[in-house]
Amino acid sequence: MRKLPYILPVLLALLVAGCGKQESDLPVNTRLGGEFTLTDHNGEPFSQAQLKGKVSILFFGYTHCPDICPAVLARVAQVYRQLQEAGEAGQVQPVFITFDPERDTAEHLKEYLPWFKADIIGLTGSLAEIREVATQYGVVFIKDQAEQDYLFTHSDYIYLLDDQGRVRKLYPADFTIDEVVTDAKSLL
């Protein structure tokens, strides 16, 4: 308890420093991410280089997932809308990568994603291509053994990428909307 008086000023100083920051102090994660080329929801090749110049919010999932994936999509859409209200949505791009190309074809993604009204780019590809991208981002996905209505075991991080395509922050699926909005703004 006697240490508390010393800690408090430090905490306050940190808080003040945090509030006053202008430039993003989010570290670059050099172990995750990298170049990739997949197929977008229009059936066109899409390379990670096309995201450069924008801050992107990248996440993986599959549209047959009813619980966590739509929740993440809905929350990313809320982040997008908040940025839209701040007039900054044009510089932020949400990107959804499916790991279920069998069912999540470009056509299906094109039907599914606009409902969230967040200008989300949907990416699919061959299983091998998707697995490679997943590995780059440290995403684990395993198709559960089932004939029909199969599900996936999967990790569900959300990635904030800067305008150079570098990973700057990871969030859990139940991320705080305000936190992502603030972080995204700090990268603009």
Binding site: D67, I68, A74, V140, F152
Partner: protein, 148 residues
């Protein structure tokens, strides 16, 4: 009131008391997460309260909009990856509540025959041990407070 009638009523009341307490399951904040109309599945959430005197065991769930409805749990592996597992039944002790929430235990509506839209309401029936059903209207919403 004729005496015979009174006696019958009394007998009925005694009989009602003698029958094991009725399973009582109530629902707080029930909702279904709205999904795009091309979705084959959707999830539902609520807090289930056992207000009765006995443990309630949920043995199944059904709704008119889904060909198949299940109770699911979410398991997190050591590497952080998550998967959904089927719960065959769920027991709630007397006086206890059980939360169905996003990323947690949830209702899983599969083989949707129609995808209800935000603003719609869907009746969901929980089948209990003993044969009764506890049903409630689940409004369809894009998000809810229990979204965290």
């Amino acid at each position: 009131m004729p005496k015979a009638c009174f006696n019958a009523l009394l007998a009925g009341a005694v009989l009602a008391l003698a029958v094991p307490a009725h399973a009582e399951l109530t629902f707080s904040d029930p909702w279904l997460r709205a999904v795009p109309p091309v979705s084959p599945t959707m999830a539902g959430y609520a807090t289930l309260n056992n207000t009765g005197e006995d443990t309630v065991i949920i043995t199944g769930v059904s709704t008119p909009v889904a060909g198949h409805t299940m109770l699911h749990d979410v398991e997190t592996a050591a590497d952080g990856s998550r998967r959904m597992v089927h719960l065959h039944h769920l027991a709630i002790p007397a006086g206890e509540s059980l939360v169905l929430a996003p990323g947690n235990r949830h209702l899983m509506l599969m083989k949707l025959t129609q995808v209800p839209a935000p603003g719609d309401s869907v009746e969901v029936c929980f089948h209990l041990n003993g044969g009764q059903d506890a049903c409630a209207a689940f409004p369809v919403k894009r998000a809810s407070q229990s979204d965290g």
